[in-house]
């Protein structure tokens, strides 16, 4: 395992440990929130101006951008012949896109 791969492995595990409790909170919130249908006003009422939801979702987005891009890279390496710098670059861009779209979503609801 190269030094870079080792760091990716560590980042994947650390992000997983951050994501696990956040996913539990997310699943419970989903089940609570969908009762009686879902409206934009209902979502915004819960999230707008909330430092707690803003920080939780912000952390969620950072962790998932790291975790998702490293995970996708591993799957592609395992199931295709694509590897090397172009794959690393593409997965880096995927992670950055997730970060951008995710932060934009957080800013829209908080």
């Amino acid at each position: 395992m190269s030094r870079a791969d080792l760091w990716l492995y560590v980042a994947q595990r650390v992000s997983a440990m951050i994501l696990a409790p956040l996913v539990i909170v997310h699943l419970l919130t989903i089940i609570y929130a969908i009762q009686g249908g879902l409206t934009a006003a209902e979502i915004l009422q819960r999230t707008q101006g909330s430092l707690l939801w803003g920080s939780l979702y912000g952390l969620f987005v950072v962790a998932v951008a790291v975790h998702g891009s490293i995970g996708l890279r591993a799957i592609i390496k395992e199931m295709s012949i694509w590897r090397g710098r172009s794959l690393d670059l593409a997965m880096g861009l995927f992670g950055l896109s997730l970060l951008y779209l995710g932060m934009r979503a957080v800013m829209a609801v908080v």
Partner: protein, 108 residues
């Protein structure tokens, strides 16, 4: 692969991870529609359709399964438990958690 159970846990983790990674950009895009509340409401009305609800339940199942499978991996790597215990406990938790969530979503 050590045994069939761990092979299936591996497959489920891969498929759920891939599905979630591909779903996330759409999820984030839809949430950013909240910048104009009416646009988000239009989209949410579409999610009332039964087929969409079914697909959403599938996504929740993917998320719960990936989380439970991921916890299993973390336990395997960081705790000195016996192999068969880890697999059985984690798979049980994964299935129970996933079906619990799915049931709740369908029942509400």
């Amino acid at each position: 692969m050590r045994n069939q159970a761990s092979y299936w846990a591996f497959i489920v983790h891969r498929i759920s991870g891939l599905g979630l990674a591909l779903f996330l950009p759409f999820h984030f895009y839809v949430l950013s529609l909240a910048l104009e509340e009416a646009r988000l409401n239009n989209f949410l009305q579409w999610t009332d359709a039964p087929l969409v609800k079914l697909a959403e339940s599938g996504l929740v199942l993917l998320l719960a399964a990936h989380m439970a499978g991921g916890l299993r991996l973390l336990v395997l790597e960081f705790f000195p438990w016996h192999d068969w215990q880890k697999t059985v406990i984690a798979l049980g938790a994964a299935v129970a958690f996933a079906f619990g969530i799915l049931f709740l979503m369908r029942a509400i």
